[in-house]
Every structure is written in C-alpha cells, then in structure tokens.
Assembly symmetry: C2
Homo-oligomer: 373 residues x 2
C-alpha cells in the first residue's frame, strides 16, 4: 500500500475513526486503525467494545484530488500513534508507504517516521451489512433527541439495560426513553408511519454518533439483529444493542396533575445552583416550597448551614406543597426541555413530577422526589 | 461582627486568601477563613501547611466606600462554602452578620444564607511580624525569576529540600537555583549590595505568591528565622522555609565548552514534540545527532517505531556528537530561557550540557544527558 494524501482530510478521517477505539483493549489489533486503500479512497476502520466506525477519505472531493500516487492495499497501525504523528506533522501533504507489511514509512518533507504495522489479516472481520429496518431522518433531529434524553440514562449500572436509550418506532412516531429509575426522559419525533422497530442503544454510542455528524444533513438508521447502524456523509457507525426488554415504557408518565408551577428557567436554575452549595454533604437535595403567595427554593447541610431564595417570576396554581428533589436531576431536566419558561406539574408530595416545555409537547421529563430528613 | 460590603471586592479578597487553604487539613479551623473587621477594613486570613495569607479588603478604595454599616468583630467560616456562596450571589452589595458567634447570616436582597461559624478564638495564632532581612523588588522581576526556575524543582520527593528554590542574596546579586538532580536552573538578578540572606523556599509557595501579584508593582521580601514573608498591595504571605543546607550551588555549571549548537527555539521544540510521540514507552528520550553537515532530532520506541527530523535553521560548531536527553527537561529549559534562538553548549557526550539565551547571561539551564540503550 502506498499513497500521498491531503493532511487535513487524512487527519479529519483519523479523528472520526478514533471515536471507535475503546479505552482499553487486550487485543493489540483493536488499538489499531485498519487502513484500506481502494479506488474510492482510504477507508479507516476502528472497533471498540460497543462501536465500530468505518469512515472514507475520498480520492477526490468536488473534483479536487485528495489522494494521489495510490497503490491499493491494507494494514493496521496504532490508532493513537498514527493520529498524533499526523496531527503534529506540518506538511500540507503526507506520503505513507507500507514496507514488507511491517513498517509504515510516513513523510511530509520535514519529518520522517517509521511506524510498526500489523498485517491487515489479523483484524477481526466485522460486518457492515445494512440489512434491516431503515429510517432516514435529519441529523439535527437525531442529535436533539439524543441531547434531550441521553443524560437521563445510567452511566454505569448493575442493570446494564438502564445505560441504554430505548428507541421505538411505531404508528408514525419515534419515541426515545432513557431512565436511571429515579428520573426519566421521553422524546417523540414524527417519522414515516410504515417504519416499525425497537432497539435499546447504549446511550454512550448514540452520543458518540451524534458528535460525528459535523456537516452531514441526513442520517440513515438501520436496525438489524443485535446491532444498529448509522450512516451519514462518508461514515458508517455500527453499535451493539441490548437484547433484553426495556423495563419501562412511556405510559408511566402521569397524564393529570393537581399543582402547576410556571417559572423562568434561568432564574430557577440559578437559585438551585446557589442554594445547593450547602447540601453537598448529603447528595445535593433542594426543596421547593410553594403556595399562592410565595415560591421558595431552599437547601441545608449539617456541616455548612442553610440557604433560601424566593423566586420572583413565577406563577403557581394549587394549595401549599413542599417537594424535595435531587438538584442535578431537576437542573438537567430544565436544561433538556430547552425553553425560556418551564412548567412543573405535580400530583402529590411524594409522587413523581413532570418538567415540561409549555410550547413543545414532544419532550417530557419525569422526576421522583426525595425524602428530606 | 456586622458589615455590608461591595461584592466584587469581597470576592477578590476571598479568592486571594483561598490560595492559603491546604487541600487537606484535619483541623476544621484550618478549612476556614478567619474574618476580622476593623476600622481599616476586613482582614481575611487563611493558613495551610506551607503558607499563611493575610489580605485586607479596605474600607475605602480611592475615596469610594467598600464597607459600610460596620460593627467590628471576628469569626471563622468555611473557606470553600463562603467563597462559593459569595461567588454565586448576584447582588452588587452583600451584608454579613454574625449571630451568637455561631451563625453568619449573609444576604444580597435575593438569596439568604445562614452559614455555620466557629469562634475566632479557635484559630491558631500565627505571627505576621516582619522582623528580618528585607529586600524590595519589582513584582515582575520576582515573577520572572520564579517562572524561569520553579519548574526545575521536584514536585514531590524523598529529599524534600529538592522541592525548594534556593534563594541567596550576596554581593549585589540575588541567585535562585532549583534542581531535581538531573537538571538545574539558575537565575541571577541585581539587587541592593547591602542585602545578604539565604532561604530555601518551597517552589510551590513561590509560584502561589507570584500568582497573587495581579496589579501590584513592588514586593517586599522579608527573610526571618524559619519563614519568609512577601508583602505586596494589601496582601501579606508567609511561607515556611527548609532549614537544611541546599545540596548544590551555582558553581556546578561548567564554564568552558567544546561544542556549540545555535537553533531556532520554536523549530527545535516542534521537532522534539513530533519525534517524542514515539518514545513514550521509555520516558520520552530524544536524541540529538550533530555534525557540521546536519543536525537531526530522533526518537524511537519498541512498540511504536521511530522518527527523525533534520533541523533547518541551525549553526553547529564542533566535531560529531550524539546526545540523548529527557524531552521534557529540554523543552522546559528552552522555554525558560525565553529567546527566539537558543544556544546549547556541550563538553562531552555523557556530561551535563547547558541551554542559554544568547542575549541574557542571567539565566542558565543545566541538563544531564541520558544513556540510550
């Protein structure tokens, strides 16, 4: 294999693929990129425990030559070292030649590197077949769905299924649900009514995928047995899915409420942020005390003291109600609904409550209150 | 104690004093600021294992009232909590009142906090007497001295004395030396010839002090038994000193050399940075190969491969010489001498070599080469 390539395009491809490299792998091959040069361009493949990424640096972009002096072939090179070497080289063009299937000689006219290679035959054979149920949607819509739900999943858990986002397509609606069992996010998006699937995608995978969208307009989602694929631009990402049933569905969100608080989101978040300074010693519990005359946010800690703040720009409907909650959960929920004013709807003191965008019914955040001592 | 204070000035004082709080302390008092209100203003005191800081928020600045409604007194409040509370309060003015020596009530018109206090009598009595040998110098000069030497000390070591900067004033010169035994920095500054002292100041203390200079022009240094004081603006910092003798002096820097390399600093640093990607697996060793025709920087790693780069803008005087070195030590030394071109002077292959600024004899960096395998 031999080629001369535009440095910026090469680096861009390496940086996309590097999201596929797992932090730890016992197999040295899986710490490598698989580089494969064909007439179409340079294909870079990277595979970790959850994700596999294929991205193509095309031979030409809009008629401009990106790759020249091409002699097809394939090899494996340490992902970290190759990315760092290419990032730090100064030249506008870089030439790479694999010698004896063992050494990749990389030059830009100033610096010269000889990097150890592994034969491409050592790489696991990972299928990128796109056989399954397909759905095409705008990248921006999938990115928004991910941003509004992924945070609500567990990062790590004894119940791995709760680290997933439950995606279900049915009756013209794609519903995304994420929960850590103390809070839940649900987002709905209109889609082609003929598409029907269910997939539990690791929340981290979906976050990685949406980070790679840069510039792409549309993403094709393919739900296949044991995996889900995302195809956009010249990049294809495959993620494993959880095959267990997802433990909850959207119907646990209450439909009717007895108390309603409408509040300016920024003011509410600032007040929570300020008073929660004091409660760090027992998990950042903040209390909301509401009646028709005043709405207060307060918090306290054994070691530190107490803080209280009256909210100015509020509207409250209902009798007196005190609710304590995890400050982080409410903060993330208010940010996720993404509106200037948010509405909080309660049924009773110890029952889960809802955070809503008054102008967007597609997103709902559900939070379980905490007991105060 | 009671006062109403300008928020920005209060926060500024708290942030200065917070540099004096040690990361870990078993005494709850030492995790507190001591606040003491007098006619002059609000004195904030903080003390950790190496440093004690006193900073004054004056009652008036240029005729503008900073503190009003003052009722003198003193108390101890958690440094972390108080700083966070004041940082996050929105009001332009903040009032603080200590009730029953137990609770500090802090208000800005929107939020209201009650922070737990400790009686001021619990605070250790740390002297801020300025009895000793005094030297006044521009803050910028001490900051530069610190920047050019402190990095060469050990951060942590079994020989604590090597975490210090050795400051010695004698014969009109203040000499600063720092070493980790594999490299050494020496900086000289002209001073009043009548001043004579020696002090081994923890490098970290000096770095902290110079970070607090913001806006101050001159610093008074007072060397007293067992401590050194730095006084600037309305702030006084006391640091412990090491009483052991410093193990080296400036005379270990060689005076005559056999090989001279003059090189563009930026190009040299870039080349080291690039080739050292490959040698991370054995401590970032980089090799310099010099003869009259070419000067090359190279590096290699067992796992990764090798890299070599020819330096363009160089001038070399001497016969063929190969020197291997710790890439970090040379990088820091080249940055510390702070010139566009740097001169490296060698005596022999395995002997310590020197990095110099060709236009500034006051700073010298000495580095011990490494063996390559």
């Amino acid at each position: 294999m031999r080629f001369t390539i535009d440095k910026e395009q090469f680096l861009k491809g390496l940086l996309i693929a590097s999201h596929g490299i797992g932090a730890k792998s016992v197999l040295p091959e899986l710490l490598c990129f698989k580089l494969e040069l064909t007439d179409a361009g340079l294909d870079i493949e990277a595979s970790g425990s959850d994700l596999t990424i294929w991205t193509l640096v095309p031979s030409k972009i809009n008629g401009t030559e990106i790759i020249r002096n091409a002699q097809p072939g394939a090899t494996l090179i340490s992902a970290h070292v190759l990315t760092e070497v290419i990032r730090k080289m100064d030249g506008k063009e870089i030439s790479l030649e694999v010698i004896d299937n063992r050494i990749a000689k990389i030059e830009d006219g100033t610096a010269s590197f000889k990097l150890n290679c592994i034969s491409a035959g050592e790489y696991p054979d990972i299928s990128n077949d796109k056989n399954g149920v397909a759905l095409v949607m705008p990248c921006a819509e999938l990115a928004k769905l991910c941003e509004q739900t992924a945070f609500a999943a567990f990062e790590k858990d004894t119940r791995p299924i709760l680290t997933a986002i439950n995606l279900s397509a049915q009756g013209g609606t794609l519903t995304a649900i994420a929960t850590n069992s103390a809070r839940l996010s649900r987002k709905e998006v209109s889609i082609d009514p003929s598409v029907r699937f269910v997939a539990n995608v690791p929340a981290k995978s979906l976050v990685e995928v949406t980070r790679l969208f840069e510039g792409a307009e549309e993403v094709e989602i393919v739900v296949a047995p044991k995996k889900i694929l995302f195809s956009f631009g010249t990049t294809l990402v495959s993620s494993r899915v959880f095959e267990d049933d997802y433990p909850v569905n959207g119907s646990i969100v209450p439909q009717s409420f007895n108390y309603f608080l409408s509040v300016n989101a920024a003011q509410f978040l600032n007040a929570i942020d300020r008073v929660s300074i004091l409660s760090r010693d027992h998990g950042t519990v903040v209390k909301l005390s509401m009646d028709e005359d005043r709405v207060e946010v307060s918090s306290s800690g054994d070691q530190t003291g107490s803080g209280v703040e009256r909210l100015a720009a509020v509207q409250y409907t209902g009798s007196r109600l005190d609710i304590a909650f995890n400050a982080l959960f409410v903060t993330q929920a208010v940010k996720a609904v993404g509106s200037e004013d948010v509405t909080l709807c309660f049924t009773a003191e110890m029952k889960p409550f809802v955070v809503k965008n008054p102008n967007d019914e597609s997103i709902v955040e559900l939070i379980t209150p905490m007991r105060t001592r």
